[in-house]
Structure formats: C-alpha cells, structure tokens
Symmetry: C2
Subunit: 159 residues, 2 copies
Amino acid sequence: MTTIKATPITAAAFAPFGEVLTARDTPSKMINAGKCERHHALATVQRGGGEAIISIFRSEPVSLPYECRLLERHPLGSQAFMPLGDQPWLSVVAPDEGGRPGQPLAFIVPAGVGVNLHAGTWHGVLTPLDHAADFLVVDREGDGVNLEEVVIPGVTITR
Amino acid sequence: MTTIKATPITAAAFAPFGEVLTARDTPSKMINAGKCERHHALATVQRGGGEAIISIFRSEPVSLPYECRLLERHPLGSQAFMPLGDQPWLSVVAPDEGGRPGQPLAFIVPAGVGVNLHAGTWHGVLTPLDHAADFLVVDREGDGVNLEEVVIPGVTITR
C-alpha cells in the first residue's frame, strides 16, 4: 500500500488539474458603485456540447488516514466544487498516464475555497474532512458518456 | 417613497424570477457508494450563445431599512449567487412591465441558500445583510450587451 501525504492546496500545484476557486489578491474590477469586488471568471465551465448545471452535493465525511481505492473522471465536462460550510476538505486528483490514472496527489483545501476540475481530470469522490458538508457543484449535463471509473491499487492518504 | 417588507424566500414565491438553490427534501440520487446525496440540476445556466463562468463577488453589506434606487438585468444570461458565509442576505427582484421593472419584491435568504436569476430578471445589486460576504457567482460571458440598468423611484425595504 502506497502512502501519500496531503499538502495544502496552491494554485500552482493544482494547475495541471484545474483552478482553485478563491478570491484573487486583487479583484478584477469593482462593481456596484465601489461596494463589491468582482473576482471575474476564476473558471470557465467546459460543457462539451452540453449545458452547465448547478447542483448541491451533501456528503458524508472521511477522516485521515483515508484509503483511496477509486478514481473517476468526466471526459466531456469540467466539475467545480465549492464548500458551503466552515471546514476544510480533501481534494484527491491524479495525472493521466495513457488513459489510466497515475500516482494520486492529495490536497487539503481550506473552508471557503473550491476547485474546478478540468474535463478529463482523474479525481477521487467528494471528501469533506471529519464533518458532513454541502458543496455547490457546477458541472455538465448532456448526451454522451461522461463518467469513467477506475479501481486503483489503494493509496493511504495521511496528514 | 414606497415601503416594502422583506419576506422569507420560498421556491414558489421566487419562481417567476428564478430558482432557489438549496438541497431538496429528497436527493435526486445517491452517489459515491451511498455516501453522498446529489441534488441534481437545481438550475441550468442560461448562456445566450456565450459560456458559463464561475466568479467570486466580495460585497459590502447593507442594513435594513435599505433604500433601493437601482435595478439591473442581464438579458442574455442567468446569474446565480450562492453565499459562502454564515449570514442571511437580501435578494431584491422585480417583474418586468413592458421593458421596465415593476414593483420590487424583497426576499430574506438564509445562510447556505442561493438563488439563480433567470435571464432578463430585474434585480438589485448584491446585498448581504449587516456583514460583508463572499458569494460564488455563476453567470454568462460572451458577445452582446448583457446589462441594462434602470434608476427607479426609491423603495424602502424593511424587515
């Protein structure tokens, strides 16, 4: 069993997999007579000929160490997850190696911060840490097969 | 000056303007081996030939009574707002009457609950109540004029 250590998410480390959804250091512009910062287009929904939809996922938590045995990906669309609670969560992703997931990486994502996974990015199931949580999810609906699942040799993710 | 009373949001009352983004009484389906409720497609992004984008708005608050003097609408796309904090917020909308906004309505929206405004829905600027707040915003980017603003005879919104 391989063991990997979860690390704090950064935009640079996550860039191969998607965007980190958080306010930038400087807003794109001020709106509403200067009363509102717009941090514009942190991500664009990839919808592969379908439509962008907004859902809520309500997930049971996991705790570390956590054993990950399943990865999935959505080849036709991006998938964004934004936590609605006040707890950090875990994002597990993996590079693609010839159509199969390579070695996973695990990121600790702070409360109030989301991610947008690019189309085709291997990732684990939704894993809030220690507390059940709701997430706003923006992903793709339309024709075509948009789910691949792969059972992997288990990896143990630790703090 | 007209005075209107803000009322708690309900899906039925808000239906002419858009969807309320909150978990349903019963999830659409269970995913992740039964560990996650998917409340599927609470809203579909209207993108009027453009693309769906994900942004964050960080807004100063208002307090009630609040005087609303400006409404706007986006004729080409929907616009969803999901609060990321733990405080209620205010959604001001108005019916269209021949291309101009009619009498506004004001809804108190609980923490953790969002709205998706349909394309062309007259609405006030983003108004968290009493505390500055971040919102995840899903709206439309693309060619064309997607903003109309109208100064209205002021309405005072009270609790």
